[in-house]
């Protein structure tokens, strides 16, 4: 499991625009670099990130080899109902990670 840091407010007013920020530990190996033995290191990147708010995708991104290690995402969501925010990262070599946060909207 990769280490993640997530910042999402736990409470919000209905209709409020909230900022969500995520950071995940990942080498994002491009597939173009040579290793110490001169051989090309196989590509190992996260290919897709998505955030679901009560099951609905509210933000997603495709990632490519030029994106640096430990990718950071910051985005805004309108808080319209209490529930869950589920974050998923998927990538090469079967990489898959899911984290979640709950939010109470009043």
């Amino acid at each position: 499991m990769a280490r993640t840091l997530i910042h999402a407010p736990t409470t919000a007013r209905k209709g409020e625009v909230i900022e969500i920020r995520t950071l995940i530990a990942h080498p994002m190996e491009t597939g173009y670099r040579a290793g110490a033995d001169g051989r090309t290191l196989p590509r190992d990147i996260i290919r897709r990130f998505a955030c679901r708010y009560n099951g609905e995708v509210v933000f997603s991104a495709d990632l490519y080899p030029a994106i640096s290690a430990n990718p950071y995402f910051a985005f805004y969501v309108v808080a319209d109902a209490s529930g869950s925010l589920v974050f998923t990262w998927e990538g090469d070599n079967g990489f898959a990670q899911t984290e979640s946060a709950t939010i109470t909207v009043s």
Binding site: L5, H7, L23, A25, S68, N70
Partner: protein
Amino acid sequence: MTVRGVAAVVVAWLLAGAGAFAQTAPDAKRSGFDTMSPRIQAMQRDDLQNPGMLWVADGEVLWNKIFGISFSCAHCHGDAKKSMRGVAAHYPDWDKTDGKPVDLVQRINLCRTRHQLVLPLPPESVEMLGLEAYVAHQSRGMPLAPSTARELDAPRERGRQLYEQRIGQLNLSCALCHDKLPGHVLAGATIPQGHVNGYPTYRLEWQGLGSLQRRIRNCLSGVRAEPPPFNSTEMVELELYLAQRSAGLTVETPAVRP
């Protein structure tokens, strides 16, 4: 203007001059943070953008982890937020048992081999960087205050000589760039004063966290010299001098650098 008026102006000028001097003296030391672009500064300031915090979070888990059949760091040291506050700011320090100077990494490994009875962690391993970053992070915001143990004077002096020694095929010393030419540009990058107040540091060039020893070895290969091995006597002596040289600067661990 009366004589008294002139005297007052002169006194005021002298006071202003003294004030300006008092202000510029500490300014002479500038953290690498000050010469970075605002975007990288913002990355360091915000704990959620600073990738070094991933290692700090790992370190916190390791701090509380029981190694082998023995006990965790927390069993003896308790809450690192209290017990480790300010500790990293005075390393390297003198180890009475072995009678030699040790840096923070070596201290953590001595704790492992003497008390936890487990193998030392290899240099630059994820676990060692995590623990080092976690311990050093507890001193963030405090001034670097190198140990004043008398035994450290001789090794620190040897470190200063290494710092000023021309070395490698390019025949450069650390002092040539970092004392004489900071602010100038080398291969498109601004030469910093080379202070050690943010280690272990997340370097964008490395795409990861690295220790001061990694940074020094990096610089030494740059001047085409043979870098001393990790944890060698020369390395610790150099670290001792560098800590003295950066004394008073605020600890930034984990710093972000280009």
